[in-house]
C-alpha cells in the first residue's frame, strides 16, 4: 500500500478507561475511498477506536488515549476546530437514533448548526442525503412528521442520511445492522457500495459475512489487539496468516 493513498494512518494506538486498557497499541492504515472492514468479537475495542477517530472519546471523562491518529497526514488530536473536524467524519451508531425532530430537521440539523440557513440549499441537501440513504421515496411526502416515529430500519437509514448531511470524508458504521431487518440491511449495503466511490468507509461489524461482502480490506481485532489485517479475500480464504483469524471467520468463536 502506498503511503499517499491512506486516508487514515493509525500508529501504536492505545486506549484505556481508568485502569482498564482496552486497546493495546494497534497500528494500521485505512485506504482512501474504499470500504474498510473491522471485525472482531465484543470487547475487542472496535467502538473505542471509532470514538477516537471522530474524537467523541473527548466526552468520556476517564478515557486515556495515546499514539498517533492522522487523517490526510494531519494529527487529529492537534486539530484546532474539533467541531469542524467531527463534521469530516460521519458516524452511525449500532442502534438507530431518530432525533426527536421532524424528518427534515433531522437531516438539516447539522448543516444548520454550522450556519447553513438558505432554504433552497437546505432543501436540496436534505433531498440528496435522503436519496443517498435510500429513504427519500418512503418519506418524501411526510418530511414534516417525526423522525422518531419511523420504523427501526427507516430510522437507521435516517441516521445514515444525517451522517451524510455534513458531507463527511470518512463514514464510520458501527454494527449498523444489528437492529434492522435483512432486507433493509441489503438496501443499505447497496448504498454503501455506491458511497465508497466518493468517501472512505469504515465498516465495523460483528457479522463477518457482511465484511466479506463489502470490504476490500479487512482488519481483525481481538481483545484490543490487532490480529491480522489485509485484503478481505485473503482474510476469508481460510489461509490467513494467523490461525485465530481462520477460526473467527469460520465461526469457531466470537
Amino acid at each position: 500500500m502506498v503511503e499517499s493513498t491512506a486516508k487514515l494512518k493509525i500508529e501504536d494506538l492505545k486506549i484505556s478507561y481508568g485502569d482498564k486498557q482496552v486497546v493495546h497499541g494497534i497500528s494500521f492504515e485505512i485506504p482512501r475511498n474504499e470500504i474498510f472492514g473491522v471485525i472482531g468479537p465484543a470487547q475487542s475495542g472496535k467502538t473505542s477506536m471509532l470514538k477516537v477517530i471522530n474524537r467523541t472519546i473527548d466526552f468520556t471523562a476517564n478515557a486515556h488515549v495515546s499514539g498517533n491518529v492522522k487523517i490526510d497526514g494531519e494529527d487529529v488530536f492537534k486539530v484546532k476546530d474539533v467541531y469542524g473536524y467531527r463534521r469530516r467524519i460521519g458516524m452511525v451508531a449500532p442502534l438507530p437514533v431518530g432525533l426527536p425532530l421532524t424528518i427534515y430537521d433531522n437531516v438539516a440539523f447539522a448543516p444548520r448548526s454550522f450556519g447553513l440557513t438558505d432554504k433552497d440549499q437546505l432543501d436540496a441537501l436534505v433531498q440528496r442525503c435522503l436519496e443517498q440513504a435510500a429513504l427519500w421515496d418512503e418519506v418524501k411526502d411526510r418530511l414534516g412528521s417525526l423522525g422518531t416515529k419511523l420504523s427501526g430500519g427507516q430510522q437507521q437509514r435516517l441516521t445514515i442520511a444525517r451522517a451524510l448531511s455534513h458531507q463527511p470524508e470518512v463514514l464510520c458504521l458501527d454494527e449498523f445492522s444489528i437492529a434492522i431487518d435483512p432486507v433493509t440491511t441489503m438496501k443499505i449495503e447497496d448504498v454503501l457500495k455506491e458511497l465508497s466511490s466518493e468517501m472512505t468507509i469504515i465498516l465495523v461489524t460483528n457479522l463477518v459475512q457482511q465484511a466479506r461482502r463489502l470490504a476490500k480490506n479487512t482488519m481483525f481485532l481481538l481483545n484490543g489487539e490487532l490480529i491480522e489485517e489485509g485484503a478481505t479475500d485473503h482474510i476469508f480464504s481460510g489461509k490467513a496468516s494467523n490461525p485465530k483469524t481462520n477460526e473467527f471467520v469460520s465461526g469457531a468463536f466470537g
Binding site: T56, A61, R86, I89, F109, F114, L146, T148, A163
Partner: protein, 303 residues
Amino acid sequence: MSENEINSKRFTKTSLVLKKEFNEKLAKGIFFSMTLAMIVPLLLIVSFLIYKAWPSLSFSFIFDMPKNGMKEGGIWPAFLGTLYLVIISLIIAAPVGVMAAIYLNEYAKDNWLTRTINLAVINLAGVPSIVHALFGLGAFVLFAGMGTSVIAASLTLAVMTLPVIIASTKEALSAVPMTFRQASWNMGVSRWQTIQRIVLPNSISGILTGIILQVSRAAGETAPIMFTGAVVFVPIAGDEVLAYGLMDKCMALAMHLYTISTQIPNVPESLQFAIAVALLGVVLLVNALSIGLRVYLRTHRKW
C-alpha cells in the same frame, strides 16, 4: 389416565393456578384500598374546610381588606403578599436552579466535586424549613441588612426551593436519552447547541412541572417567612396591585392564618377556615396547572 382424560383436563384450573389467582386478587385489593385510604382523608379535609368556611366564603373575600382588627372582612393584603413572595422567590430560584442543573447534568464530569455538590443538593432539599428561616434571618435580614422585608423573605424561600428545583430539573434533563446527545455530538454539533435544540425542547415541560410544584411549597410555608418578612398586619390601599415595595414588610396567607387562629381572640370560626380554603385553593390551582403540563408532556412526547 387415558388420553381423553388428559385432554379434558388440559384447560381446567389446577390448585396452583387457583392459588395464584387468589394472591393476584389479594395483592390488587390491598394496593387499591391503600390508594383509597390516601384519597379519603384529602376529600374529607377539603369538604370539612369548605363546610366550615361557607358563611365567610365569597368572591369579595379575597379582594377585601381585613376590618375590625382582622375579625371581619377579606384577605387581600395577605393574598397579595403571598403572590409577591412566591413570584419573587421563583424569579430568583428558577433561573439559578435550572442553570445549575444544566451544568450538573450536561457538563460536569463525574469527579469528587460533582459528587459532593450532588450530595449537598439532595441533603439541602431535606433541610427543615425552620432551619431555612433561621438562615434567612441571619444571612439576609441581619447580615445583609435587608431587615424584615419582602426581598429577605423571598430570598429565604428561594434558598429553600433551590435544591428541589435543581433535583427536579436534573431529573427532567436526564430523561432525555443519552443517544440523542451522542448522535448530535457525532455530527460536530457543540454541547450548547445540543442542549438548545435537542435537550431543552424535550425536557422543558418536565422542568416547568418541577418549578411549578415548588410554587405550592413556597406558598404554603410559614416558618421561613415568619422571621424574615411576613408580619401580622400591613395596611395597604385596597385597589393597588403594586402595594408592597421590595423593602416593605408584607402579609402572607399562611402567616395570616396562623395569626388569626392563635393570636386574636373572638375571631369568627368560619373566617379561619375561609383563609385555609383560600390557601388550599392557591396550592391546588397551581398543582392543577402542573398536572395539566404533565398531561401535555405525555401526549406530546417526541420519542
